[in-house]
Symmetry: C2
Subunit: 169 residues, 2 copies
């Protein structure tokens, strides 16, 4: 395969992967473009490369910055904004974990907190007790997963590899 085609294929595949991990397709494609580009790129160049509209480029670049996957940089004497992508794939993973914790796990934990204090009427005592029990189980599991994600998201790569070794033996 030619380099040009390989780059194209990588951008497409990264886009598909992203859309399963809470990053929309264009957002992931922009990120992929930066992963395989060494120099800074302007919004204009991103539009050009990926054949997307100005608005789309702008929105998704902002989102990537929000996620900590892209950095704004200036070139002295240039008025235009330029961007640099986060290339460290371990850091990328940590950022994604962090964002998903915020957007999904925390809200779910809040709901579970509410639900496990449902009121028990005399006539549905047993049913309510079972419901509460199930909510507690789900809450306990979710909290553990949450803590584990927090730990991973705040650890460095060395720690991760060490843990991985331990897990695998």
């Amino acid at each position: 395969m030619e380099l040009k085609d390989a780059k194209e294929k990588f951008i497409q595949s990264w886009g598909n992967l992203g859309s399963n991990w809470g990053v929309n397709k264009t957002m992931a494609q922009i990120h992929a473009l930066f992963l395989i580009t060494d120099h800074l790129l302007s919004a204009e160049e991103v539009m050009e490369e990926l054949q997307i509209s100005r608005g789309n480029a702008n929105m998704n670049i902002r989102a990537l910055i929000e996620w900590g996957l892209l950095y704004k940089e200036s070139i002295k004497g240039e008025r235009k904004e330029y961007f640099r992508g986060e290339k460290d794939i371990w850091l990328v993973a940590r950022r994604v974990i962090q964002m998903r914790q915020r957007q999904e796990i925390n809200p779910m934990l809040n709901v579970l907190g509410e639900l496990k204090v449902v009121e028990t009427n005399p006539e549905n005592k047993g049913e309510a007790a079972k419901f509460i029990e199930q909510m507690k189980q789900i809450e306990a599991f979710t909290q553990s997963a949450d803590r584990m994600f927090s730990k991973v998201a705040s650890s460095d790569e060395k720690w991760f590899w060490k843990i991985l070794m331990k897990l695998m033996r």
Copy 2:
């Protein structure tokens, strides 16, 4: 909050959570209904409870069975099919991990395998080398994550808690 409302809220929230984890909303809602129901339910009853169409119920029940989150059961003397939900939330998580490995991680690993052997022409030597290097990094990380998921997906709950303890200290 009343039990009825709590159940409703749980179904909605589980639906939202699901749609971020590769399980579509109705599929997750059906699963939620089973999580908080002790007896068997027929497709008819699921349709009724969640106010969804026959086709929708059928499709998503099949998908849940495919994912290993629902089991088909018979009631003797009854012609209708009944279903029972997987309630063990740890097992549910493992099944979801397994499915996502299959659907996302494996295809990505295949693509990365192809891309890292891109041909190097004399005129783009340096560029190609950098691209290959980046692909290798991403591949190494993805493989590790993949192995870790495999381990988790095939382990029992006790192992999980033990690891969790280790991680947290």
